[in-house]
């Protein structure tokens, strides 16, 4: 499947962010090469998976409240078919890491993720889950859940407003639609973002400077 053929109602493909990643993803998939029949079947399954992503009710802090708002009447995520929130990780498809993950919680989150049945997805909701957010200088916060479990979609915001969460879920649906269901291993793509390199280097340099000043 190509990116162009993904169809999300009411949002044209080119208006989505980070299409580069999906293109790279498709390239990688092509390298592995699968037969047409398998691809067609995989497309059907992906259609089912992408339209029925059942979230695990998991919330650690502030973002969980916004997540409840997504589930409530105003921004009803049942419209997308994602409303069946499961409390048992065995039956859930996606884990919304909504809130800060601290070092005491990290093994628990890892265990929850391991308990989920394949195919499973992770959405890092909000600043804390993506990067540590407001608590970057804390001694007990995990700075980004990607240190613990692989993350599929990052939704920035502190907390992200409900529509932003819906947008993030549509991004996840797009990614699911491209997947190869029969692939044994999970495909990990590392994008090359020069800006991020610069930012990280600059930050490290500044921290060194500050440490030297002390």
């Amino acid at each position: 499947m190509k990116i162009k053929s993904i169809h999300i109602k009411n949002i044209p493909n080119e208006e989505f962010k980070d299409n580069e990643y999906l293109e790279q993803y498709v390239e990688e998939l092509k390298k592995n090469g699968t037969s047409v029949a398998v691809t067609k079947l995989s497309d059907l399954l992906n259609w089912g998976h992408s339209n029925s992503v059942w979230p695990l009710t998991f919330g650690t802090s502030c973002c969980a409240i916004e997540f409840m708002c997504v589930a409530a009447a105003r921004n009803d995520f049942a419209r997308f078919g994602w409303e069946v929130t499961r409390n048992s990780p065995r039956q859930a498809d996606v884990i919304f890491v909504s809130g800060t993950i601290v070092k005491k919680m990290a093994p628990v989150l890892k265990r929850l993720y391991d308990q989920m049945a394949e195919p499973k997805y992770v959405i890092a909701m909000g600043g804390c889950a993506s990067t540590g957010g407001p608590f970057q200088s804390s001694y007990s916060v995990v700075k980004g859940v990607d240190q613990i479990i692989p993350v599929d979609v990052y939704i920035p915001g502190c907390p992200p407003r409900p529509e932003a969460v819906l947008y993030g879920m549509m991004q996840l649906a797009r990614k699911i639609k491209l997947e190869n269901y029969f692939a044994k291993e999970r495909l990990e793509i590392k994008e090359n973002v020069p800006l991020a390199e610069i930012a990280k280097e600059n930050k490290a340099a500044k921290q060194e400077k500050a440490a030297a000043a002390k």
């Binding site: 009447a73 997308f80 039956q91 269901y181």
Partner: protein
Amino acid sequence: MFDFKIVTSWIDNLLRVDLGLDNFWTLAIEFILVGVALLAAYALIALVLIYAERKICAFFQCRIGPDRVGKWGLIQVIADMIKILTKEIIPIKRSEKLLFFLAPFFVIIGSFLTFGALPFAKGLHAIDFNIGVLYILAVSSLGVIGIVLAGWSSNNKYSLIGAMRAGAQLISYEISAGLALMTMVVLAGSMQLSTIVESQADGWFIFKGGIFALVAFVIYLIAGHAETNRGPFDLPESESELTAGYHTEYSGIMFGFYYVAEYTNLFIISAIATTMFLGGWMPLHIPGLDGFNQVMDYIPSAVWFFGKCAFCIFLALWVRWSYPRLRIDQLLKLEWKILMPISLINIAAVAVAVTI
């Protein structure tokens, strides 16, 4: 009114006369056909009900419900089913493997056996026992074995508590459900489902039986939904306490079985209530109004049956999405202190009324 006997006897004729098969093969093919048809209907009804519940629940909650997968979200449930079918099944390490995998089948078989004995329309009735009511009561409670086994074999404390609750609940509510149905058996004078339906030709029991039938109807609905573990009686599952209750450790299609069985059980309870109280597939007849009765007769019997079922299901959903869950002692109190005494008095009163 269209009689489904025409279809069934045509098939029988086709096999026996036109193809010239002997008795054994005819029966074998007919059994397979019936089985396949029932399975298809079973799955279809579950799909429709899941969609209906989601939509109706959303409307009760001022929401819209599924509306993006297909027109009005109509194929939402198909996507769900594809997903559940292809999800990984996780074997639990320290579980009782055999029972763990067997449990969901008990649940699904229990509800399927009941499903097969329902009279769906005029002539559309797979097995017509002369002890139909007894049979239905017996097999519909098979499901609880699956639930208790699931709770016990999962090696999970939540599951165990949920399973124990389910056991207590079923044993209690079976009594008043049975008594409520017996009230109607007294009125009809037969346990055969077809006879019960036929005897409602001149008026449904809910009208003919007066206050007794109404009380029995309400009690049956309450007890029936308590038996199927649906809200406000969903204690074995009670999401906010026991995460997912007895099926906490199940994933993939194993969980799908529980999920589907929950909805078909809802349908079965409504169908039994329809058959016993609302005249089954019988159209609405008002004595004296012949013109009206004739118009009613033109509506196919299947429509009557499913329409009445839909009404009962709507009642159940309405209650489910309005009330909080009962606590275990409240649940047992409701049965032993309210429902059972009332249904005992009710059945005695009916018996007296009928003999007089």
